[in-house]
Every structure is written in structure tokens, then in C-alpha cells.
Amino acid sequence: MKKEEFIKQLAAQLRGLPPDERGEILADYEEYFEIGLLEGKTEQEISAGLGSPRTIAKELALNSSFAKAEHKPSIFNVFNVIGLTIGLSFLNFLLIVGPLAVIVSILFAGWFASITMIAAPVLQLAKIMLDYAYFSLFELFISIGACGIGLLLFIGMYHLSKFSTRLIIHYCKWNMTIVKGRESNV
């Protein structure tokens, strides 16, 4: 990342801070870039060493809220710190659990539907046995048709499940590298 891009991203991440504090922080990093350039480093090398502007901004936000809470322990400040601390790990939690919940519910719904449809003729027969007056050829044919669709869905769900298992494993691995990346960023 070039210097300008780094500073721009950091500035965007620090929107919530008072303007004078934000200016000071940006000046610190500009100074760091300029000295690094004098020492013969490239802008890319310097920004790579600094890590992502997002991580830096989080670190700064955590520090300043903690300092505030220590100096002026008000309910609001304490909530702010709790929010930030939870936010840091909760984001990772959500990143895993959110998509996982969606995939699992889709799979569950699909399997449930296919098994019910396969069982439809049996259920239809059970209904007829219980009360012969309800016998309807039309309903019987519909249920046999549903059984066919259910069998096809069953095969489809089998492949979809295999595919999503692979997808989830890949996703978790990818997420782990992000979380690890953030941790080594200290």
C-alpha cells in the first residue's frame, strides 16, 4: 500500500474521533513514513511493517476508551469498553456462526422436505386405512409424484451437503488465518 492510501484508510477508520486527536494520530504516521523514506525504505515496505489501518484504529479506539473509563468511570464509558472488547472477538464469532447457521438451516429444511415427500405415499395409505371414506385416486397420484420429487431432492441434498461441508471447512480455515493474522499483528 502506498503512503497516501494508508493515511486515507486510517483517516476513514478514525472518523469517530475528535478532529484534533485524529489529526495528531495521522501526523504521527506521516512522520513515520517520512523518516522511513529518508532511511531508504519504500512506501510499500513501511506500510507493510505497520500492518492494516483497521487493526491500528481498533487498537487506538480500545486504548482511548479504556483511558476514558479509568479517568471518568461512568456507566457510559464502561459500556463503551465492554462493547469494544466484545466487538473484537464477537466479530470473529459472528463471521463463523452467521454463515454456518444459514447453511445448516438450508440443509435441514432440504432434508426434511425430501424425507417427507418420500414418505408421502405411505402417509397417504395410512390415511386411507384409517378412514376409507377419504380415498381419492387424485391424492394418491399426487403423493406418488411427491415421492419421486422427494427421491430426486434426496440425491440433490446428498451432493449439496457434501459440497457445503467442504465449503464450511474452507471458510473456517480462511477465517482462522485472518484471526491469526490479527493476533500476530501486535
Binding site: 504521527d28 517520512e34 511493517g49 505497520l50 482511548s64 501486535v186
Partner: protein, 106 residues
């Protein structure tokens, strides 16, 4: 290495280096990263926190080349805090070393 652990060590190193003489951010990062691996970006947030807690004061100084630099100077309460951290570190490292040594003897 454990994140929180490394953060604590980084704080101690920064305090000791600034106690020796006034330093600017870039210099601190260089000094420390020669000894062990740190994320350079984490040093400035740390310096800001220590300044906010009034362990450091800052002043700008012109340089013969390049931009003027923000220097960090340790305060009396900063020195007290540093001494306390050094003490904690000593107790801690003696304990860990003992455990390692006992482990190797067996």
C-alpha cells in the same frame, strides 16, 4: 507469542528506552524490532496511551533532515510505573527460568 503477553513486554521496553533518553516513535520501533519481532503499527497506539496516562510528555523538535519529530519524555509517575513493571518482570522471569531449569534436570 501470546498477544497480551507481548503487549506488556512492549510497554516495558518502550518505558525503559524512553527513560534512558528522549526518543521519537520511529527510533523506538527500530530499537525494539532489532531485538524481537513486533508489529510496528502497534507502537504509536501504545505511545498515545502512555502519554494519556501522563507517563510521557511530548514535544516537537526540528531535525537536520526530514520532518520535525515528536519526542517522548518520561515523567516522574512514568518512572515509578516503569520500576514497578521491571520488578514484576524480574519476578516473572526468575520464576519461568526456574521452572524451565527444573524441567530440563529431569
Amino acid at each position: 507469542m501470546n498477544v497480551q503477553f507481548k503487549k506488556g513486554v512492549l510497554e516495558l521496553c518502550v518505558l525503559v528506552l524512553v527513560n534512558k533518553r528522549d526518543r521519537y516513535g520511529y527510533e523506538l520501533v527500530q530499537e525494539i524490532s532489532h531485538k524481537f519481532e513486533i508489529s510496528e503499527g502497534a507502537v504509536y497506539p501504545l505511545l498515545r496511551r502512555l502519554t494519556k496516562e501522563e507517563f510521557f510528555t511530548t514535544y516537537l523538535k526540528e531535525s537536520t533532515e526530514g520532518p520535525s519529530r515528536k519526542y517522548y519524555h518520561i515523567t516522574r509517575s512514568g518512572r515509578t510505573y516503569m520500576e514497578q513493571l521491571i520488578e514484576e518482570w524480574r519476578t516473572f522471569s526468575i520464576g519461568v527460568n526456574q521452572i524451565i531449569k527444573e524441567g530440563e534436570e529431569n
